[in-house]
């Protein structure tokens, strides 16, 4: 069986080929700032999770996460996974809430 014992995580990119650096910048959207803010509250204030858990959660995302998800999308995916791991929220609560939000958003379209 072919095993690569020196495999690196997708996040561990130092020294790999990278291509041209895109200098375009975007103003952070409010929803992105809210994710950042929630992380600060969850880690510094509430100590419900650690920044290391956030990083580990991002590192555990599928390999195409760096291509197909934006920076704060990766953050919220990791935060949500961690909160589920820690039992702060349940799958049912999350599903119910997300359905309700989606339903309202499409109602008002």
């Amino acid at each position: 069986m072919d095993r690569n014992f020196t495999a690196r995580g997708n996040h561990d990119m130092g020294g790999l080929d990278g291509g041209e650096i895109n200098r375009d910048e975007h103003d952070y959207a409010l929803w992105e700032k809210r994710i950042d803010a929630m992380m600060m509250l969850l880690t510094n204030k509430l100590q419900i999770m650690t920044v290391d858990q956030l990083r580990k959660g991002i590192e555990a995302l599928p390999p195409d996460a760096y291509e197909n998800m934006t920076y704060y999308e990766r953050w919220i995916a990791s935060v949500t996974n961690t909160l589920l791991d820690e039992g702060v929220i349940t799958a049912d609560e999350l599903a119910t809430k997300m359905s309700a939000i989606e339903a309202e958003a499409s109602e008002v379209g």
Binding site: A7, G9, G14, M49, Q53, R55, K56, E59, E86
Partner: protein, 102 residues
């Protein structure tokens, strides 16, 4: 309490824990390289444990280690005196007998 002092030659362990599921803050590119202790940063929580929400374990000694770029990258095309400095935890380091020890 720090095992190493400023100026000590150290080697980064050439260990490759599968990542994920581990969470490791020693970059892949520096493993196996030999450098010099640039400063002792002090004791901090171990990120490899904090990543699992285990926040009350013993702290680990953190150092900044200085490496010659030419020792890190084969075919490095910058200047001979270019360096890279990285924060590395004590448990990722071992003593190096001499510079460029295999």
């Amino acid at each position: 309490m720090a095992r190493y002092s400023v100026g000590d030659k150290v080697k980064v362990r050439a260990a490759f824990p599968p990542t994920p599921p581990t969470h490791v803050r020693t970059p892949h590119y520096i493993r196996g390289c030999v450098g010099t202790i640039e400063r002792i940063c002090g004791e901090f929580g171990n990120p490899e444990e904090l990543a699992f929400g285990r926040r009350y374990g013993p702290k680990s000694m953190l150092y900044r280690v200085r490496f010659r770029q030419a020792d890190v990258w084969s075919g490095y095309d910058g200047a001979a005196e270019d360096h890279i400095e990285i924060e590395i935890y004590e448990f990722w380091l071992e003593p190096a007998e001499r510079e460029n020890a295999a």
